[in-house]
Amino acid sequence: LKKRRKAERRRAKKREGVQPRSAATTPRDKALRESEAKFRSLVENTAVPIGITDSKGEFAYVNKALADSVGYTVQELVGRPFMDFLHPEDRERVLSTFMRGVSTSKEAPEIEFRVTCRDGQTLTLTSKPTRLEVDGKTVGFQAIITDITERKRMKESLRNGEEEYRELAESISDVFFAMDKNLRYTYWNKASENLTGISAKDAIGRSLYELFPDVKGTRAEEVYLEVIRTGQSKSFVNEYELDSKQFLFEISAYPTKRGISVFTRDITERKRMQDELQRYSTLLEKLVFERTKKLAESERRFRELADLLPQIVFEIDENGNVQYVNRAGFAATGLSEEDYRRGLNASDMLASAEHDRAVRGMRRIMGGEMIGEREFTVLRRDGTSFPAAVYTAPIVREGKTVGLRGIAVDITQRKRMEEEIRASKERLDYVITSNPAVILTGKPHSDLKDFDTAYISGNVASILGYEPKEFTDDPKFWERHIHPEDVPRVLSELPRLFRDGHAAYEYRFLHRDGTYRWILEDTKVTRDPAGNPAEVIGYLTDITERKRTEEKVRAASLYARNLIEVSLDPLVTIRPDGKITDVNKATELVTEVSRDQLIGSDFSDYFTDPEKARRGYEEAFVKGFVKHYALAIRDKSGKVTDVLYNATVYRDETGEVQGVFAAARDISERKRMEAHLADARRLAVIGETTAMVGHDLRNPLQAIVSTIYLAKRKLESPPEPSGKPAVEPGLVDMLETIENEAYYMNKIVSDLQDYATPLKAEPKPVQMESLVKDTLLKIRIPQNVKVSFKVSEALQTVMIDPAILRRVFSNLIMNAIQAMPDGGELTIDLSRTEEDLLVSFRDTGVGIPEENMGKLFNPFFTTKAKGQGLGLPVCKRLVEAQNGCMTVESKPGEGSTFTVKLPLVKP
């Protein structure tokens, strides 16, 4: 790191040193500068890389060409040591050569070196650095650099190439040698040495004539000279005798730059083989000719036979080319001998969609597989086609499968018949299976009381879940699956079938899934010519759905009548003359008159205003209906029931009006409810108002309470030294009174809030005993009231909202205290039953008069002079919010007991 910092500093200094340049002063300087500028521009623009280093070997100047060649910018190079860019392996060598060079002369010898470019590529460069001197002192070095990377690479590959060829030439087993233009050997390979027994050392440098004196005038000499002269390569075969053996050589001479190269191959063996082959071939041809003649004879006979056959006989080779077709083939396809001679392929004769299948089949057969009849569509010449059943077998010649031989039969007729059978079968199947009825036939018993099922259609499975076989195999199957209740009836029908020739009966049949299905069986008997029953034919249909619908209709009408009967509204039907024709139970109840008496009597007799009643039904007959017609029914005892009548006319199938159907609605309950609702609405409005008032009151209340606090504090503080008059003694009491009233106002407001806002209880486990105790602690009990708290049983925790319950308890305690203005006893009792927890508050106060008991929990009811009447309603509401309830017992003059009942948590 230190080193690098130093180098950076050095470079920085260098950059600074370049800049300051004092202005030239003399003409000589100017000339010099101009010349320097000229020189500089030359150097800058030349493509030759040039660099100057200082005496320490750091670049003082580089031109653009140098920078470009190594991939750096000029600025990056200046100031950096030249050595940094050298290939590490070259550094020492370059340095020593360089040092040696420049120490003895001004110019170092040419040095070759490698540099690493910015992109990591290595360049090979040469340079001849020269020393730069000023006044005999070395100030730096200048170098013109030549990039010889490419040259190096070329040389390298050339050298490698030559070597390769040489190795190749040595390794080939054929004789190979080269001669110059004077037929002097320049190369002699190993094979040449082996063949001639002359070593390469002895051969190279000598001439052809020296080594082979007999060569003069031979074909070889002639060819070599011709190749040298014409520059065209030439080959010839020469015969040599070596070691008393005849050799044949194929000699090829190729022109080269320096002479010729000759390639000699021993073809003695090849020639011998060729001759042998020729001889055999001639012999074979003769044999084949004789054999062919015989075969042709046998084939002719075979063909004549084949032509007699009515079926198409054919032969194809392995490529599907037709080799033979018999006369029937030509006739069936409309092809001519002419077509055949031109060449036919099996694919031309088959529908194109079947080609792939045909090829696959052919391969299988040729592979030795036996394949039976296969159907193909054969094309005729005129474009029509016919279906054919084809039988083929492989043609084997000399153990090799060479094609197929086969017979094709026109099966147009057969196909048509098959199609007809299939279609008619399909039609029949469709008729039977699509028919919801199950078809059956049976064989009559001789006693003519029953029959055995002989056939039953397959769709029986879809209706009853059983297979036809189950019916036909077991004669008792059918009877066993009929609902036991239906068996006697069905069996009694059967003799009638045989007597009348026809019968239809319904019964329940046990489906495989365990349910009963309603079946309609319709059977007929066919008779033989003698008139005796021959066969039973019939069908079964599933009528479960129909039965169900019938049942529904029956049930519905019963249901409708029941509805009318059970209706709480009095219903009557009235004739146009006003006589009652029918009534329901409710009418009997409301009139206290029996049904029998009602029917036939006048409708209007049962109302407080008979005239209005008569007008009502008359209106209904005229208009078709009346709605919400108000009447009052008077019963036998004189009790009046307010009702609203809705009445409409009813008609028979022809549309003739039969009477009026009148329904009364007892609205006495509704009238009561309406009164309640009005109350509730009033309460809701009050609730909303109080919520708002309560909210707005909080600030004035706060202001009053805090002012009282401040006033009291002021009164408490010691009198000032100035000696103001002593405080009026009653003032504190007055403030206390105001404060109490403010407290009371606050209670009214919060009670109102409690009553007006929705409650949300948040139950948690609570120990009731401590809750009651806590509540008691927070209430100021007057001296004259004695409180006792009894816990009759150890109690577990209860799930309740403690905050809510505390409010209830404190309310009840306060009420009790208020009920005993002259003192008394408050007894709080905590006990439990199986399911509930009971907290009772018993006082010995004034008690509640009988007539007030019912209104106790109504809002705004109070007996207290100063009560707002919300305390108990709020308590009730709070307790009910916890799924509890509140009860009260009281005797005037003896006291009251309020009891809170809360459900216990199930363990």
């Binding site: 909080r698 600030n699 706060q702």
Partner: protein, 158 residues
């Protein structure tokens, strides 16, 4: 009488739009020895609480320019260490829970009938705040000491 044990007067911000209530609260709290500032609107409260330090703020749930809960949420971010007490009208439990969830340290029901209880509550909050601060300082001192010891052993160790 001093509001807390520290020598410095505790600072309280009363945020209340009712003039009489605001003035009374200020007077009552000043009697207890607190340094009391008031704000009429939420905006004013934010400005004041950003400009000055307050130990505690009483926030009326309904303000002329915003809901007290909204103010609460904002102040939770701007002055997290200030004790924030919501003053609500006749409350429901929901209301109070919301306030606490939104960062209130406590809630007081208005009208405050028992002023002494109210003052006690404020005192407790301030004491808790002081303890928390004290605890933090103590923790910091402890931490510094532990670190110092660690460094020491390291020095002597090498």
């Amino acid at each position: 009488m001093m509001g807390g044990e520290s020598l410095e007067k505790k600072r309280i911000l009363v945020i209340e739009d009712d003039e009489v209530v605001r003035k009374n609260f200020k007077a009552i709290l000043e009697l207890e020895g607190y340094n009391v500032d008031t704000a009429v609107t939420g905006k004013e409260a934010l400005e004041k609480s950003n400009a000055n330090f307050y130990n505690l703020a009483l926030i009326d749930i309904r303000l002329p320019d915003m809901e007290g809960t909204q103010l609460l949420t904002t102040m939770r971010d701007t002055v997290p260490k200030m004790v924030k007490i919501i003053v609500t009208g006749y409350p429901s439990l929901e209301n109070a829970k919301d306030a606490v969830n939104m960062g209130a340290d406590g809630y007081i029901v208005k009208p405050i009938m028992d002023t002494n209880e109210f003052l006690q509550k404020i005192k407790e909050h301030l004491k808790k705040q002081e303890e928390a601060q004290h605890y933090n300082e103590h923790k910091m001192a402890e931490y510094i000491e532990t670190r110092a010891k660690q460094e020491e052993t390291k020095e002597t160790g090498t």
